[in-house]
Amino acid sequence: MKPQLILFFALFILTLSASAQKQYKLAKSSGKLNLNISGAKVEAYDGNEIIFSIPENRDEEVDERAKGLKAFNSSGFKDNSGLGFDVTVKGEDINVNPVSVANQPKLSIKLPRNIRLSFINNNMMYQDTVMLKNLKTEIDVSVTGNDIVLVNNVGPMNIKTLHGSVDASFSDDLKGPISIVSVNGHVDVALPVAVKANLEAMSNYGKIYAADELKIAVNTTVDVKTTISGVTSVKTINVGKSIPSLTIRKSETSENEAKGNTQVFGFDRGNYAESLNGKINGGGVDLILKSNHDNIYIREKK
């Protein structure tokens, strides 16, 4: 088959699946959207209503007895959107909660530009990827296990996931502060070369990798490198060409620790911690990246 034909079919199927959607629209162009659900794909667009949609590809049985009734749950949430979610507007806040925690369809949301977003999921079992795209307002994500994908968001953003990973690709007109933390997952960010940022990356047991092209001016440890005039020297380190390229300095261990405390079991804890503080293009947006047990990757956006 010709590639054009394959492309045609692929597009055709795509449009089919796109058309087979259940939608719920809410006219609101400001405020804050609070999502307390298992996962979602949120994309900003130029419009005045929030469009919630779920794929309608499953052939579920329609319960005839339930016609004219709404699903309720113990928290008092009812399926007022017809999608299995409770959508309630309370002043500036738009709250979205699942009616059935266990059977949540994958929700896609189109969000007007001025609405802020908060995503919270403390459920240990039902976790799905959270994808946020093209948002230009404040983002607040706090989850236990979801993987988080951030594409082309402006910020400011506060992202926390305990077990999931974060993959982010930032836009040029970044707004701070940006804080991305994970305990067990990796943090992978792609920055535009021209971005101005104060970088603060830290990993307790993982490593920090950064791209050469970003030319990070690393602040070396203050207590060691203080010059005689008391000015901290700032070095620009150009690291090797090989793939993910550099690991910078050990975390500052206190003077007491250095001379006291014999090692236990042949290692001294704390020395594993890696941190990288520096400025990109002279500094600007505050960018905090942290992963306790996994690696941090700082790469160039292409």
Binding site: M157, K160, P177, V181, N184, G230, E257, R269, I288
Partner: protein, 264 residues
């Protein structure tokens, strides 16, 4: 009652009384009296100067001590206390550098002069600080419940400025315990980490650990407190590892510290 000793004394009374009372010697007594004050006077005179010198020395030392401490007390208004604490290690570090790097006397003097510069700079800062108050907007921003990013920005601004006060540290400690956003809590923790040498701050950190319910912050707190010296957190660490709801990573960290201290 028959007392043999009394009888014996009665019988031999004459033997006991063989000593005559000496004749009253008025001249000798007068001479003695005349002599004694002379000796006393001499003694007093010889002792007094020493005492005076000692007293003067004690007074001088205590006066100098009082003056010195009084001066440092003046500088230690609550808002500047921490800055002073931070300055000390700098001096300590700068001096050995000088000794190692230079040999000639002149060089040493020059280097010392140069090394003294940053300290002077700090002094200048100290004097200026009451004027250089922190933006009150920042404090307001710190308690902005509508936007976590605003709060984070405020915390980061505090972190960057060299200004700090106990009031501000207490506020940040409150943030660590009660803020709804973990990222903000972590940032506040990183500010306190900067001033961890201070006893008040280490107390705040311990309190924060005792009330912490966010696993992410627990992890960082345990990690930080584990590295600090002379901190008693074993009880809390036991409580954490024995709590089934504690996150595994936090338990691992707590175990590691207990192992390091050989307390487990």
């Amino acid at each position: 009652m028959n007392d043999p000793i009394k009888d014996f004394v009665e019988q031999h009374r004459e033997d006991f009384d063989h000593l005559e009372a000496p004749k009253f010697d008025l001249a000798g007594l007068k001479a003695k009296i005349a002599q004694k004050p002379a000796i006393k006077k001499h003694r007093v005179l010889s002792i007094k100067p020493a005492q005076w010198i000692a007293a003067a020395a004690v007074l001088l030392v205590s006066a100098m001590g009082f003056w010195f401490f009084n001066k440092t007390e003046q500088a230690k208004s609550p808002e500047q206390h921490l800055v002073i604490n931070r300055d000390r290690p700098k001096e300590g570090i700068a001096k050995p550098d000088v000794k190692v790097a230079t040999h000639h006397k002149q060089d040493i003097q020059l280097a010392k002069h140069q090394a003294a510069l940053p300290v002077q700079k700090n002094k200048f800062k100290k004097e200026n600080q009451p004027v250089e108050q922190l933006d009150p907007m920042l404090v307001k921003q710190l308690s902005d419940s509508t936007s976590s990013s605003n709060r984070l920005a405020a915390v980061l601004a505090i972190k960057k400025s060299d200004f700090i006060s106990y009031d501000l540290l207490d506020r940040l400690s409150g943030t660590i315990q009660h803020d709804s956003n973990s990222n903000v809590r972590l940032a506040a923790l990183s500010v306190l980490e900067k001033y961890q040498q201070d006893a008040h701050v280490s107390n705040l950190l311990i309190t924060a650990l005792n009330h912490q319910d966010d696993p992410m912050v627990q992890l960082s707190l345990v990690n930080l407190l584990g590295k600090m010296q002379n901190i008693k957190i074993e009880e809390r660490l036991y409580a954490l590892v024995n709590d089934p709801s504690t996150m595994e990573a936090v338990k691992d960290e707590a175990y590691q510290i207990l192992l390091k201290e050989n307390k487990f």
